[in-house]
């Protein structure tokens, strides 16, 4: 493959005086090694960065969980102090939600979406890199709080007025606020990127209704993100102003209403949980058909349900507030909307079941995780239905019953699916297979460990054990089951150790994977493993849903309901049709571009800009710890902000740069 370097557009003479700045950070064309990763704009690399970083934070959040469980194994223990415990559960929750599940989903969005739609990369590759660096720095900032013994301790939901300076004078809340602001920018910007990518960069013939369900879930999730994150951003800024400047949004001594925080938080918080689960549902919707050897049952219904869940997710938020005294009318309304949202969720489960039904189920590791997902997510859904009724919720709220519920949907649901996705797409990204044996062992261990840890919590909650308590007395009847839960947690640890071991050994010397090791259905399986830098040498022209499957098994298209069900005859005439000699799924039309494939150069500005914002956030936090009259923190904050913004301008001005690749026509 010949690499041809292309210069950034030459700088005109009259601008040369100001351009020492531009020359300072010459757009790196094709760096290798560590710097190559730091300046990368390649969605596949960014996806890997997201995944590896998320696994690191998963380890941290897991350690926090194990400490929590160790403390609670027996009554009246002193393994950790009350203050430490309160920091542990706050950090565990915040980490798992913002630094693990969301970024792991982002890892999959990044690696898969361009491949699945037949594109070279996302719409805004540098902004994509920026999102990743903001995530990394936001996560590091949050965890830096441990180093200063000031980890946030107000719970991941941070109810006012516990977060007020009066009740929480330390810097923990400040770390939490600023980290979440950075993470919020990361997510929002990434979501915008994916919306534009999916709408604009689809290969010819790839209509919306031919998109893999995972891509649909990506776009729905992205809309949820851009609509929900502004709400928490507002809440965080109001809280920051209260703490830093003395405003009175939540200041109870000046008439502030704590319920305002709850509304703002949960208007974000509820769509957030759908942000956490929809990508996982998308992954399962890809895995189940592949390993059943038949298409997803009811594709349009599954897509529509996903969109419906996303939309309805904005109508249920006060079900987190049933016990706050909203009154019977509000409680009834939110109860009804919450029960209603169970309907599209249930419909999805029926469709997954329908996908399995009549199939030829292949018991590979991704499928095991997929089946585990259906069962465990269902259980989580049921405890959710039980929460939907305010009278019942009056007993369940703020108890271990809720803890059981959300761990079933987040671990049994989201995490199982994400690990299934890991086993499924690892060969595509790395070109190596993970181990069926180790994966099966890990799955079984995780299944046993997870249920051992969390099923008894349903009972503990109904037996009166509240949440967020660092200890409990003897004689409450909670002793035995808490110990069981703790044992289960350590079994889960074992499962994750197995997965990690499998991951590392597979990377080092796993068997080589071909381009289609699973007999897959979607476009990513049409290219080599790992994919070449440019993904597709020639953009495929797509003729159907599941184009790779249709290519291999044209009889899949024999049913009338495929092509016609959603496309009315007039528009169908505009879609490309397969010609003589072409497969039924897709074709590589047009031949290779004689100029070669123009690849974008890397860029320093995304990482530098993110660094600027990290410094700004750190400066603000530091300024709160400083005595009166000292302003270093504030100065740092302003400088950091400036640096962050300047880098964004520079990336707008740095020019295209890049290089050309001439792929070997034999290979692709």
């Amino acid at each position: 493959m010949a690499l041809e370097l292309v210069e950034a557009r030459p700088i005109p003479e009259d601008r040369k005086r100001f351009d020492f700045l531009l020359r300072l950070l010459r757009r790196p064309t094709h760096l290798s090694g560590l710097l190559g990763w730091v300046t990368t704009v390649d969605h596949k690399r960014i996806g890997v960065l997201y995944g590896v970083t998320a696994l690191f934070f998963f380890f941290l959040g897991g350690m926090e969980a194990l400490l929590i469980r160790t403390q609670l194994a027996f009554p009246n223990q002193n393994v950790v102090s009350a203050d430490t415990f309160n920091q542990l559960f706050t950090m565990h929750g915040t980490t798992m939600v913002f630094l693990v599940v969301m970024p792991m989903s982002a890892a999959f969005f990044n690696v898969l979406v361009p491949l699945m739609i037949g594109a070279r990369d996302v719409a805004f590759p540098r902004m994509n890199a920026f999102s990743y660096w903001m995530f990394l720095f936001g996560g590091l900032l949050l965890n830096a709080s441990w180093l200063f013994s000031q980890a946030p301790d107000q719970g991941w939901f941070a109810y006012a007025p516990l977060t007020a300076k009066t009740f929480n004078p330390g810097q923990g809340v400040d770390f939490w606020i600023l980290s979440l602001l950075i993470l919020g920018i990361s997510s929002t910007v990434a979501a915008l990127n994916f919306i534009v990518t999916i709408i604009n960069l689809r290969a010819p013939g790839m209509t919306m209704m031919r998109l893999p369900v995972f891509v649909w879930m990506t776009i729905v999730t992205s809309f949820l993100i851009i609509l929900a994150f502004p709400v928490i951003t507002v809440a965080l800024i109001e809280l920051a102003f209260d703490r830093f400047v003395g405003t009175n949004f939540f200041n109870i001594s000046r008439g502030g209403l704590p319920i305002l925080w709850q509304h703002l938080f949960w208007v974000f918080g509820h769509p957030e949980v759908y942000i956490l689960i929809l990508p996982a549902m998308g992954i399962v919707s890809e895995i189940l058909p592949t390993f059943s050897r038949k298409p997803l049952f009811g594709y349009p219904v599954v897509v529509f349900s996903g969109a419906a869940i996303g939309f309805m997710g904005f109508t249920v938020w006060s079900h987190h507030m049933f016990t706050t005294g909203l009154g019977p009318i509000a409680n009834s309304a939110f109860s009804l909307t919450t029960m209603a949202i169970a309907i599209p969720t249930g419909v999805k489960i029926f469709n997954w079941l329908g996908t399995l039904w009549g199939g030829q189920i292949r018991y590979k590791v991704p499928m095991m995780f997929g089946l585990g997902f259906i069962l465990l997510f269902m259980i989580g859904g049921f405890s959710g239905i039980m929460h939907a009724a305010p009278p019942g919720d009056a007993q369940q709220q703020d108890t271990y019953f809720v803890v059981a519920h959300f761990h079933y949907v987040l671990i049994g649901g989201a995490l199982f699916s994400l690990f299934g996705g890991l086993y499924y797409w690892f060969p595509k990204i790395t070109g190596r297979m993970m181990s069926e044996k180790l994966g099966t062992m890990a799955f079984l261990t995780l299944f046993v460990g997870f249920n051992t840890t969390f099923f008894p919590m349903h009972w503990l909650g109904l037996n009166g054990m509240p949440r967020r308590i660092y200890t409990y007395g003897e004689g409450m009847g909670w002793d035995g089951w808490n110990l069981v839960c703790t044992v289960g947690a350590f079994i889960m640890l074992l499962a994750f150790v197995i997965i990690f071991y499998d991951l590392v050994t597979a990377l080092m010397h796993g068997p080589r994977a071909g381009k289609d090791p699973w007999d897959g259905r979607t476009l990513e399986w049409a290219i080599p493993s790992p994919p070449p830098e440019y993904n597709f040498a020639i953009a495929p022209t797509v003729f159907s849903r599941d184009p790779v499957w249709a290519q291999k098994h044209p009889e899949f298209l024999a049913h009338d309901d495929v092509v016609d069900e959603e496309e009315s005859p007039p528009s169908e005439a505009d879609l490309p049709q397969p010609e003589e000699g072409e497969g039924a799924g897709y074709a590589l039309r047009g031949g290779l571009d004689p100029h070669g494939i123009h690849m974008p150069a890397g860029s320093w500005h995304p990482v530098l800009s993110a660094l600027g914002f990290l410094v700004a956030a750190s400066g603000l936090i530091f300024s709160q710890a400083q005595p009166e009259g000292h302003h270093t923190g504030l100065v740092l904050a302003v400088l950091g902000l400036l640096f962050g913004v300047v880098n964004i301008y520079m990336w707008a001005l740095e020019g295209v740069g890049g290089y050309h690749i001439h792929p070997d026509p034999e290979v692709e």
Partner: protein, 351 residues
């Protein structure tokens, strides 16, 4: 799955289902804060609504779960079929089935929704009753103040209520959000600063009921517990009358010493009287619980320890270990063993 219609039959049926699952763990349905051991109309209504959701969920789980298990077994194919192996029928969907199942789901939602909304309204407002008792509950970090406005009684951490009469609780928070939860009598309602919430409960069975704060409120959230004790009408009236009385000056010399320590403190700035009220004495502090009738309460430390001399001593000497973050730590108490004994003797007289 048919649910038995009569309440008793339904309870028996539920118990057998749960017992079957609880067999291994020997689960008790009458643990101190069990929601199953209902002792009043509010918790009963809530329990009934929960059962409906539980049964509907269990029903769906059994049906769909069985189908899932069946499919996972019945449609198992070879793990690595050859590339040219015949495919299963490539079904794309079944709109009629989809519509039917969606409608069935909607029906189940309606079945749950109707009793739910009824239950919401029934548990919300206390029945209009002449003999309802009103109690103002104020939540502090990390204890409960109970005031009976009609009788001008102020106490803490132990709520005495008359049996068989509705009790209306006005919920206020002095600092952060707390939540009042005594599971056997009623589900919880939050105490939110600058917001006036109200709930009601009623005990139809005599007993002492355990409760605890159910909204994370800081360091010692886990230690913000309380008890609700039922009394028959006559007893309750007598109790109110006694609680209204000021504390008598003790005659025992050790107790008098204790009273001295209490009012003046072992050192300047450590007077208990600064933060606590003992009616009929100079102690008029409003920061901590009212101690006028401390000895009449079964627990100390907000439901944390049984009220006896040993625990009083522990409270006074190992406060941070007993209740981390406790505001009393601000007093920087350092009491000699004699002072502790004297104080305990004095507190014991506050019946």
């Amino acid at each position: 799955m048919r649910v038995p219609s009569s309440s008793l039959a339904r309870r028996l049926w539920l118990y057998s289902v749960i017992s079957f699952t609880g067999l291994l763990g020997g689960c008790s349905f009458s643990d101190r804060q069990s929601v199953f051991d209902v002792a009043g109309p509010v918790s009963k209504t809530q329990y009934d609504v929960q059962n409906i959701t539980l049964f509907v969920s269990l029903g769906i789980f059994l049906v769909v779960g069985s189908l899932l298990v069946y499919a996972a077994i019945r449609f198992r194919g070879p793990v690595d079929p050859p590339a040219d192996a015949p495919l299963p029928p490539q079904t794309h969907g079944n709109p009629m089935l989809e519509a039917g199942l969606t409608l069935a789901a909607l029906l189940l939602v309606v079945i749950m929704a109707i009793p739910t909304v009824r239950g919401i309204f029934r548990t919300y407002a206390a029945p209009q009753s002449e003999d309802a008792v009103v109690v103002n509950v104020t939540g502090y970090q990390w204890w409960w103040a109970f005031e009976y406005p009609d009788s001008k009684v102020v106490t803490a951490n132990e709520l005495r209520i008359p049996l068989g009469r509705p009790v209306i609780l006005n919920l206020k928070a002095a600092d952060v959000i707390h939540s009042f939860w005594v599971p056997k009598l009623a589900g919880k309602t939050d105490l939110i600063p600058n917001q006036h919430n109200q709930m009601w409960l009623e005990a139809t069975e005599p007993g002492t009921y355990y409760g605890q704060c159910a909204e994370y409120c800081g360091t010692s959230h886990a230690n913000m517990r309380f008890r609700v004790v039922t009394m028959y009408d006559q007893e309750f009236n007598a109790w109110l009358a006694q609680q209204k009385m000021a504390a008598a000056t003790p005659t025992d010399p050790l107790a008098r010493d204790g009273m001295d320590v209490f009012m003046k403190g072992p050192r300047v700035g450590q007077a208990c009287a600064t933060c606590h009220t003992i009616q009929g004495t100079p102690a008029m502090g409003l920061v901590g619980p009212n101690l006028t009738h401390f000895a009449s309460r079964g627990t100390l430390g907000s439901g944390l320890l049984e009220n006896n001399d040993q625990n009083v001593a522990q409270w006074l000497t190992a406060l941070d270990a007993t209740k981390p973050g406790n505001k009393m730590l601000l007093a920087h108490l350092s009491l000699s063993p004699e002072e502790v004994r004297a104080l305990a003797a004095y507190l014991r007289t506050l019946r």
